[in-house]
């Protein structure tokens, strides 16, 4: 099991109940992390979209994670 720290913003912060959470999972892909997060916080599944950023870059499902990566949950953006 690896432990990842995930930052949350906007409505994702409200759903997680804080600016970040820690999550342990057996896999090391963005897809595995997403599945684990939605399982723990089902309200995430109701969002229009949910991207994951790794080290300030949008990351596709196949991207591999390392424990020291800066990982962020990006709900639908609405700047401007």
């Amino acid at each position: 099991m690896k432990k990842y720290t995930v930052l949350a913003f906007g409505i994702a912060k409200d759903i997680l109940g804080g600016r970040q959470c820690e999550i342990e999972l057996p896999g090391n892909t963005v897809a595995a992390l997403r599945t684990a997060l939605v399982s723990r916080y089902p309200a995430l599944a109701g969002l229009r979209s949910l991207m994951i950023a790794v080290n300030s870059e949008y990351a596709g499902d196949g991207v591999l994670l390392e424990e020291r990566d800066e990982i962020a949950l990006i709900p639908p953006v609405s700047g401007g």
Partner: protein, 136 residues
């Protein structure tokens, strides 16, 4: 120049930053907080940014714009924190040698910014609040 600011945006400074002696056209977009939405009074907006990534994404947009149009100077500023109706939330200023390019480049930048840059807006109306665009 890319700025994320907790205080009022300086439109004049953005224009000065974007203006170049070789550029005859400056286009500026200012997004301001409307006093109404969905027929309700807007009390305030609250903006939150994932700051390092927001700056990185804005840089990518500028690079893409500079590949499409002959950008000479540019400045992009976005507010974070609590905004009252009438305040500027975003300023995009660009200069190009000729005017059609300045309109196209500025519109491309603000359109793309709204799609890709990790900034979030919560609208606080007289009867409730909502993260904009969060739900289908």
């Amino acid at each position: 120049m890319i700025t994320l600011s907790e205080t009022s945006l300086d439109v004049q400074q953005a224009i000065q930053t974007a203006t170049r002696l070789k550029a005859g056209a400056v286009n500026v977009f200012v997004g301001t907080v409307r006093d109404n939405a969905k027929g309700k009074a807007v009390l305030r907006l609250e903006y939150e940014a994932y700051e390092p990534m927001a700056i990185a994404e804005i840089k990518k947009i500028v690079e893409a714009a500079a590949a499409k149009w002959p950008l000479q100077g540019w400045a992009i500023s976005h507010r974070v924190g609590v905004l009252q109706p009438g305040e500027a939330a975003v300023v995009v200023a660009v200069s190009t040698p000729h005017r059609a390019d300045s309109f196209a480049a500025c519109e491309y930048i603000i359109d793309t910014l709204k799609e890709t840059v990790p900034i979030w807006k919560k609208e606080v109306l007289e009867d409730g609040e909502e993260w904009i665009s969060a739900h289908p």
